[in-house]
Structure formats: C-alpha cells, structure tokens
Subunit: 331 residues, 2 copies
C-alpha cells in the first residue's frame, strides 16, 4: 500500500494521453492527490494545483507518483533530480514504467539514506503458470478497443462503480500500471513474460460466485501493431462472457503509429468475438463505449445514437452520460 | 558460443515432444552431439548413445545441454545433482528453460569453483523497443501452425537449407530456445516481456536486400489458449510476405490442453492471413507443411495430395519428402 496523499509527476508529457496515469489517479482517486508537478514544456494538466517537491512535502505529500508514459518505458535522465529531491523530502516513490527505480543511478542509495520506499507497480513478484483455457465459474466482462488509450480502463471503472451502486457483485480487475495504482491490486500484463500472458489473465480473474462479475480492464487493441499480442492473450485468458468495445471517434490512426489507421468499429467487434470464442464460445457484446469529449455534448449524443443503431447495441459515454444502459443489459 | 561437443540431457521426458529441444539439436546439428543422458522413466530417444556424465566427459563432451521442456519452464529439483556432476567434470551448461541456472541453489558456486560457464539461451540482454509496424525492405516468410510443436521450426530450417542449396539468399531466424541453440543466434520470443513481442520480431528480421529472405520460425498457434498472444505479436512484427501453415494430422487437441481441439487447417489459414494484413496487406500463403510421420509413407503421400487439392497450395513434408515445391513457389 502506498502512503497518501500523492504528488503526481507529469514530467514533460507531450499531450494529455502521455500523462494518462496521472489523469487516471486524479480522476478516480481525487482524495488521494494533493497536487501535480509539471516540467517546462508539459502539455498535460490534471487540474490539480501545481507545486514543487518542497511545497508538496510541506503540505503533507507522502508519495511521488510518476504519472507519465514513456515510449518503451525508459526513464529520462532529466527526471533523476526530481526523484532525489522527493526522497530527500521524505517521500516514497511509485513508478509505473518498465524501468525499475533501482536501475536509476543513485536512487536506491538515496532511498536507503532517507529511509524511504520505492514501488515499481508495473512489476510483480507473482509467478504465473501458462494459460489453461479451462472454463471457471463466475462471470467476466472485458473492455476491448479500437486503439490504446481509448477508454478501456475508465469504462471498466465506471461499470464497477455503477454495479456497486445497484448492489451487484463486481470487481474491477486492473491490467495496467494506472489501474493497479487506482485499485491497489492487479497486474500490469504488458510487463509479464510473454509465455504467461493468458496464464496471468486467468490468475487475475479466478473462479468466483455464479452471479459475480469480474470487470477486466483491457489493454491495447487487436489492431495495434505493437500491442495486439498482449490484447489477444488477455482476451483468451479472461474468457469473457461479455465484451464492451471502446472507441475514440476523432482519432485517425492508432496511438504512436501514423501509418496504421483506426479500424472500423464493426470489424473490430467481429475480430474480437471471433478470437474470444477459442476460450469462451458464448462470448457476446454487451455494448459500445465512446469517448465523446472531443465531439461536444450535442454531437456526442447524436454519435452515440448512431452507433447504437448501427451495431444494435447499447452505446454509452461513461464520463459524459454514464454506463447505465450497459449495466441494464448485464443485470 | 557454446563449446562442443554436447551431452544432451533428456531427464524424465514424458514423450518425444517434451524432448523437442534435444531432438532439434540432434537432428540439425548431429556433429555437435556426443550422446544423450536419460533418467529412469524417460520416454524420449534421440537415437544418440546413452551415457552418464562421467563417460561423456571422458569422451570429450564440453557442454551439457538441457534438452527438455517443462510446463511453465520450471526446473525440477531432481536434476540439480546431474548439473553439479557435469560442472565437476568440467562441462559448461546450456539451459533453454525460463528458469535461469543461477536461480538453482549451488549451481553458480559450483560453476565458479570449477571455472565453467552457464548459458541461459532463453534469455537475452538485448533491449527491445515496442513494435512500429513500418514496412522494411527484404522478404520474409513465417511458419505458422495449428498447434505448438507441429513442425514450424523444422520447416523453417529445411527451407533455409534448400534455399542455400539453390544459391538463394536466406537466413533462418530462431524465435525459440531450440532454434537459438541450432542457429547460435536469435531470440526466444516467449521469454520477452509482452509489451515488446512485436518489437523483438522487428529487431530479429531487420531491413535487408530486396531478394533476401528471412525464414522466421513461428511459435505456438493463434488457436492455442496459452500462446496465441505470442503467435500474434510474432506475426505482426515479422510482417511476413509469405506464410507456411504447419500441421500434424493425427493430433486431436492442442498440446497440453485436452479441452481445446486442433483447428481446421483452412480456418487457421484464413485467421492468420486476416490478422497478418494489419502490418503486411500483401501477405499470402506459400504452402502447407505436414508432419506425416505418424501416417506412414503411402498414406502420407495421399494426405499431402489431398491437402494440396483442398487448399490450392503446395503441400510438403519437409522431413519425408523435402520442401522443394515450396521453394519453387518462392523463387
């Protein structure tokens, strides 16, 4: 368990998506966050008060949370000074990158000197088995998407919240570093050795009561050239009874790769269902989840209506309008 | 580079497939192998002379090669004594399992004491980037399959050999521990952190001359619940121009999972082509490769003829009849 409250570090995030870990924690656990630390050139903003390490420490911050993504997960040298300063001011550090804090020169020594703890939330000591594909009790929903960073985590968290409101049994199952920071449990599946992707997904959503839903956070996309393998292993290991397709309607190419267009939503639904059947022949769609933020409210509503009509499924925006219609269909 | 010749360790392999690393090395690099060491209950046989550590050492063996697979890659405690004995007799050890030799109590110390080296061929110090999906020059062929252990590596090695015979430019690209032992280069892709599967595959088959073929060893199967994620990441990262579908016709369920039937060859071809198009829209089939060993020669020939007619593709058995028709089509 990380000590609270947090100072969220956004570095020089090149856009809001690059700071999605900070946004996720700020949006879903606002009570845990005291401020944000941004470096010159940072293009992201969580809306939390800006402050430096010294001010945050004075206001009671106990943990510096690295809230940015770096392509390939490597940590820029330039951030080292901030980390050392946070340790010197008595803060622990939580890190969601592939790089472990211990690999950065001087950090382990500084943590020891100041009696602070280092958390690499992307890494787990859990040993996994290879996937078995055996059916298990309980129900599972997986959020999938047309791209990375298109609403899979927010949709899953919103579903858990709404289901709890209605007294339904549900657990959000985190599969990425941000989800793990929010839920304080789970597995960053993209940091698991690839032989064990689906085995890790089976471990994450074990047998449960027949009316219990695991709401599993999806990762990547079957149509993203970098991450489709992770998406498929997660799909097979989760054995979902229901899928929710997540989509951001204004994006033209997949995250980070201008040469790869966003797939058609219908094609993406069909491919996910076709591949899901290997481990759960009864897998079906629960609905579509659209991030309509860039469209505005009126156009967003029109878009949702059009998606619902086109695919014959409930279409929601979990943030703007809530996930009620999806939960109606599950319950 | 491992010192030669080798003593191949087969442990208590429960069947021939469990010893596929030993078989691969014995079949493709017979000059490097001096004998096999089998424990009571072993059901595999490479045909090499049986011998213990002391006899092998006396005959000049320089490296003990662990030639068996273990589900999940963990090393049985019972083999520790053999490893210690090999080190004491002056042999290095090469290990293809997920478990590193250094994790086995006493092995590092014994290696240091006797001045011997430990090789964990499944692990690489190479740092990979995430996949980019960008097209690159040169041509690539990937062997895919209806299951694990159904001929993907043998087909790729046979293709390289036949292409070299004909003066064509070709490189076998190893993606598993056995292939790495045979080629003395490559990457065990199932040991790569899952975020980097396709990035590792891109690294493995880089830009090359326009008439050069990388013959990439496939892994797993899109229809195997444990390993499909690895198969898909490898498919996307390789960006193959041509696929060869490998199949063992007498198998009824995928390796290790009695609940999952072997997919239909045609369905498996269609799914591989559909998913390959994400990073190479021009990907096509080069042919089908069948392991007819269990059918016998006459029935094997009939089966190949039937497969060729059904799928409209060359159908070969690389061991029984050679891969000539596949290379005719590539050249």
């Amino acid at each position: 368990m990380l000590l609270k409250p947090y100072l969220l570090f956004l570095g020089e995030a090149r856009d809001e998506l690059a700071a999605k870990t900070a946004h996720g924690v700020a949006d879903w656990r606002p009570d845990w966050c005291i401020g944000q630390l941004r470096l010159p050139g940072c293009k992201a903003d969580t809306g939390l008060p800006d402050m430096g390490v010294a001010e945050a420490a004075q206001k009671g911050a106990k943990t510096l949370v690295l809230g940015i993504a770096v392509s390939g997960g490597r940590l820029p040298e330039s951030w080292r000074q901030i980390l050392l300063e946070a340790l010197a001011h008595g803060m622990d550090i939580a890190n969601g990158l592939h790089t472990r804090l211990e690999e950065i020169p001087g950090i382990s020594e500084a943590a020891a000197k100041h009696g602070r703890k280092l958390f690499n939330v992307r890494h787990s000591d859990q040993a996994f088995d290879t996937g078995k594909g055996t059916r298990r009790s309980g129900r599972r929903l997986l959020t999938v998407g047309t791209d990375c960073s298109c609403g899979k985590k927010y949709t899953a968290l919103a579903l858990e919240r709404e289901m709890h409101k209605r007294g339904l049994k549900a657990d959000f199952r985190a599969t990425g570093q941000t989800g793990v920071l929010i839920a304080e449990r789970g597995i960053a599946i993209d940091a698991v050795v690839s032989d064990f992707i689906s085995g890790a997904a089976e471990w994450l959503s074990p047998a449960n009561e027949p009316d219990h839903w695991d709401i599993v956070e999806g990762q990547g996309s079957l149509f993203h050239p970098a991450f489709a393998g992770v998406s498929l292993g997660l799909l097979h290991g989760t054995q979902p009874d229901r899928l929710v397709m997540c989509h951001e309607p204004t994006r033209r190419h997949v995250r980070g790769l201008p040469g790869t267009p966003i797939p058609d939503v219908g094609e993406c639904i069909q491919m996910n269902l076709a591949l899901a059947k290997l481990t759960n022949p009864d897998c079906r769609m629960a609905g579509v989840s659209i991030n309509t933020e860039a469209l505005g409210r009126a156009e967003g509503e029109r878009y949702l209506k059009a998606m619902a009509d086109k695919h014959g499924l409930p279409a929601v925006d979990p943030i703007a309008f809530g996930v009620g219609p999806l939960v109606d269909r599950l319950a």
